[in-house]
């Protein structure tokens, strides 16, 4: 895992701030204070200022932040001032669901191909996205200048698929298979653990039970 001085929690909050700023901007608001951002997203004003301070000086004391400027700046920090072509490996239910997930498109991620070895799927379109054979991965990645791959295959195929992505020159992998996969240090890797979200809920259910 790469270490940088910016905590991951800050990056996640920047993503939340930018969504909130999009809404605020659409309502025609021109300037906003850290307190208003804090209230809008449910963190403390000090946290907002601390998160933004990692990236230099923003805003004017007593006036606040210009909404459009701050939004543009955060999007640039997140690397979202550009479009990212993405490939998905696995045309099963999860791969299909991810290919049509509206949240990706909204933030500039475009699924340019789904890869699978099932001959009943290859050559057909899923929600407007072509399903290719894995053999075509290198060709599509080059043509579309793809740096990000999503692994959406069963756990027992995850490492094998990650190896293929690495050999084909991927820069970053998002792994949805509930299995740890290993990649070289120069490849960015992130495991999405869907279960941990349920565990935060059960922890909180325990807390609220204790209260009553």
């Amino acid at each position: 895992m790469k270490t940088s001085k910016i905590p991951e929690a800050t990056i996640i909050r920047l993503s939340v701030y930018s969504r909130f700023l999009t809404q605020v901007d659409q309502r025609g608001v021109v300037t906003i204070s850290s307190g208003e951002i804090a209230e809008g997203v449910g963190v403390s004003p000090a946290q907002v200022r601390k998160d933004l301070a990692y990236f230099g000086e923003f805003g004017t004391r007593g006036v606040g932040y210009n909404v459009k400027d701050l939004h543009r700046h955060i999007m640039k920090i997140l690397g979202l001032n550009t479009h990212w072509p993405v490939v998905i490996i696995g045309a099963g239910n999860l791969g299909t669901a991810l290919s049509m997930y509206g949240g990706f498109r909204e933030r500039g991620f475009k699924i340019v191909g789904i890869f699978d070895n099932d001959p009943q799927k290859v050559g057909y379109k899923l929600n407007g996205v072509m399903v290719y054979a894995l053999n075509d991965l290198e060709k599509v990645m080059k043509e579309e200048n793809v740096q990000i791959g999503i692994v959406a295959v069963p756990a027992h195929h995850a490492q094998e698929v990650a190896n293929i992505l690495v050999e084909t020159g991927i820069s970053a992998i998002l792994n949805f298979a509930p299995k740890v996969i290993n990649v070289p240090k120069n490849v960015e890797m992130r495991n999405v653990d869907l279960t941990v979200n349920l565990e935060i809920l059960t922890f909180n259910l325990g807390l609220s039970k204790d209260k009553h």
Copy 2:
């Protein structure tokens, strides 16, 4: 959002520690130090000790933690010393993918029903899980003692489905729709944002580009 003194990041790490302890236990290890846990999961030993200290005294100075005891204790903290029946609303690709996600079962979450109003799906089984009409939600929730519901419908139906879950007496909702939904304060809510994971990757890709 409910506020408690335990940071959410700590809960997420407890979940990671418990998975690591499961593996360590399976290898027959009896005691483990905070340093070994730290190395195994990629955080600092001080962080491990700080996270565990929220929940009282563990371990023996100079000896470390008993693996089985610590694992059992963390699972109890997370509310995972019991099985949780879960319903999924939406029998589309995402609902189907979630119903067969192996990670849920491993941690004691059991999908007891998928609910949808599509007559072509109701009455059939998906990966061994029955698809019911939404009208049957109350009956199934009572019979199976369900407290947790997963929203896996398109964004424009998410609020409507959340309202139905709330009216039926759900305690906690995990929302996969890329849309903020509102629930009463006594219902635990968690939005799963699949896009933020890609944004952490693009942020890190930007960092590594700056380095070269």
